[in-house]
Amino acid sequence: MIHSILLSVLLLSGVGVLSGIILYGVAKKFQITEDPRIDDVQAILPGVNCGGCGYPGCRSFAQACVAAKDLEKLFCPVGGNACMRQVAQALGIEIIERDALIAVVRCNGSVQNRPRTNAYDGTTWCKIVHNLYTGETGCSYGCLGFGDCVKSCKFGAIKIDPVTKLPLVDEEKCVACGACVKACPRQLIELRVKGKDGHRIFVSCRNPEKGSVARKNCSAACIGCGKCFKACAFGAITMGTNLAYIDFQKCTLCQKCVAQCPTKAIHEVLHGKKI
């Protein structure tokens, strides 16, 4: 009896020891030496895996940071400058400070400004509606209002305004990861500099049609009249195909263009304050 117990214990221990030796040898032979700094950098990063930096997740971004010589092309929009400063410190390289960005919706075609010409009761997915036809209004460039941007946002920063039926970006929550920019089939969302105290001015229309046509479909359309272009003393406004565009790098928030705009297509975010 005791003999058989002893035999099995010894046999099992022998197998265990042998396996241990093999595993040790394999682990030594195929060892992957990973830079320990990758773990350090990853610990600093927010860890939301949003993809806003252009990498599939925070780990890949950390690997890219460690491998890079400088942080010129690397930036975590979620963590912002504070986070990147820590990363730079951990890696002992220069930090390149950037302006905080925020998503802005460049369409002012609210229910009030843009009359509905037809009713759609199909699949509520902007991508599908965009493929099918122009949408519920006469403007074939404006917001469809079915909220692909809302669904794409991992931070709950966009919601559809129940009054205007347009997407509304939450200042606090938006981290400028750019997911909504990719999600919008009409390319209405742009990442712009947040501006001094969060103030910013931009042209809230993407309709390149002739002024009269655009205006017929939406009372807040940019008609490309060029009044803002003439009013701007800083050369921040460029005129494209029947559209004005305000360069956020040059804009000084002087508001001269806002007063000039005949259709109120220039949108300003001032948080109730006066500059």
Partner: protein, 449 residues
């Protein structure tokens, strides 16, 4: 599986929606010329044509106003005589704006050489190459719906020779009757058109497939086909989508077109009935493709009709001629009810591929609420191509377009049978179309790289 009758049809899938061909007994009516036409420069599958007229130019009906760009393109002609007033963008069926030429009508002048007499001309004077060249010059495209240029199908491909010409008179979409009426009223002309196509393709046999719900057209064509060698009329079971190219070929010949292949791979060439008539007019009467027959139908419409109209005429003009927009209209569709496109305004020009304009009341326009998929596989059983629509929709919903491509999403012919039979009213086709758009886009990007 339902019991199959002995009449020919495609082997699996498909449905038989109610015929509802209200305008079947309405003769084709020619409407008075419109005061203005807007002619899009892209009405075919391929490259847009290049406008060669300027604003203010006087044009005659039948004059080339936009030149074909390359092989996969055809000429566009002025459809009325008058002055070019605008060359800009006009809303098309999708609601998006496309380049178009607008002409204001002045008198009725034709370019020289067009034979407007009604006499039947059976003597084919042109040879093979001349016919192929002529149909491109005259802007001929498939009038069934896709608008594929006719000359491309007629141009010989090395190593591939068709042995049979199939003429599509299935008209499997409910409501539409334009091809049906054409077969009854222009039978001999169509058959001469078929002879021309046979000559161009160098084939000895042609089969005209007509669905069994068009008894009068079958009897009429069979009677006159006795005088035409090599042309046979075959009755097909009434089943949607019989008129889809691949299904049509299989129904008539039993041959299958390989995945990603063309009908020529199955040694067939398919043309539409209306196209055969247009070929006759072009080759025998020297008349370019500037008009077509359009069905205007719908339950509440006062006068469901078949109109012969000039390309570029506003759809609003046609609806007006059919008794005006009825009260309580909920939806207007360009094309058939299964594959057509709902319009968001009616001031849209009729193009070469417009087969019908349907007007529905609000009751019929609503989409039913979408419920969950119950895995009944009805869509699988009815898909004429043997795809799994529920799976494709699921993949598309989760944006797994690569997987959808592997599941043969690109094979879908967008007939809409899956969405039609779904008991949960799921918008299967919408999602499959989305996947197809993404896959096409991806392939283009890949090719560009």
């Amino acid at each position: 599986m339902e019991k199959r009758s002995k009449i020919k049809t495609f082997p699996f899938g498909g449905v038989h929606p109610p015929d509802l061909k209200h305008s079947a007994q309405r003769p084709i009516e020619s409407l008075p010329l419109p005061t203005t036409v807007s002619i899009p420069v892209l009405q075919h599958f391929g490259a847009p044509s290049q406008p060669i007229v300027k604003v203010g130019d006087k044009v005659k009906a039948g004059q080339v106003i936009a030149q074909a760009q390359g092989f996969l393109s055809v000429n566009i002609h002025a459809t009325i005589s008058g002055t070019v007033t605008r060359i800009d963008e006009v809303m098309d069926v999708s609601g998006y704006k496309r380049p178009a030429i607008t002409i204001n009508a002045e008198g009725e002048e034709w370019v020289e050489g067009v034979d407007l007499s009604r006499a039947l001309d059976r003597n084919i004077r042109l040879n093979r190459e001349e016919i192929v060249k002529k149909v491109q010059q005259d802007g001929l495209v498939g009038l069934g719906g896709a608008g594929f240029p006719v000359h491309v199908k007629l141009t010989p491909v090395a190593g591939k020779q068709a042995d049979i010409l199939l003429i599509n008179g299935a008209e499997c979409e409910p409501y539409l009757t334009c091809d049906h009426r054409l077969m009854i009223e222009k039978g001999p002309e169509i058959l001469v058109g078929v002879l021309i196509l046979m000559k161009a393709l160098n084939v000895a046999k042609a089969v005209i497939g007509v669905e069994s719900n068009k008894v009068d057209a079958i009897a009429h064509l069979t009677a006159i086909a006795r005088d035409f060698d090599g042309i046979k009329i075959v009755t097909l079971q009434t089943r949607y989508p019989q008129g889809a190219e691949k299904q049509f070929i299989e129904a008539l010949t039993g041959r299958q077109v390989p995945v990603g292949g063309l009908p020529l791979d199955a040694k067939c060439v398919v043309q539409n009935i209306a196209t055969a008539f247009a070929v006759y007019e072009s080759v025998q009467k020297n008349k370019p493709l500037i008009e077509r027959v359009v069905t205007v139908a719908g339950e509440d419409l006062k006068k469901p009709s078949n109109f012969r109209v000039r390309i570029g005429t506003s759809m609003a003009y046609l609806i007006e001629a059919a008794g005006g927009l009825p009260e309580g209209t909920g939806k207007i569709i360009s094309g058939g009810p299964m594959m057509g496109k709902a319009l968001n305004m009616i001031d849209i020009p009729v193009v070469k591929t417009t087969s019908g304009i349907l007007v529905f009341g609000q009751e019929k326009s609503r989409r039913d609420p979408v419920l969950n998929c119950i895995r009944c596989a009805r869509c699988v059983a009815h898909c004429p191509l043997g795809l799994e629509p529920y799976l494709l929709m699921n993949l598309s919903e989760n944006e797994r377009f690569d997987d959808a491509e592997r599941e043969m999403a690109m094979n879908c012919c967008e007939c809409g049978t899956c969405a039609y039979v779904c008991p949960s009213k799921r918008p299967l086709l919408d999602y499959i179309r989305l996947a197809k758009t993404f896959i096409t886009q991806k392939r283009k990007e890949k090719a560009a790289r």
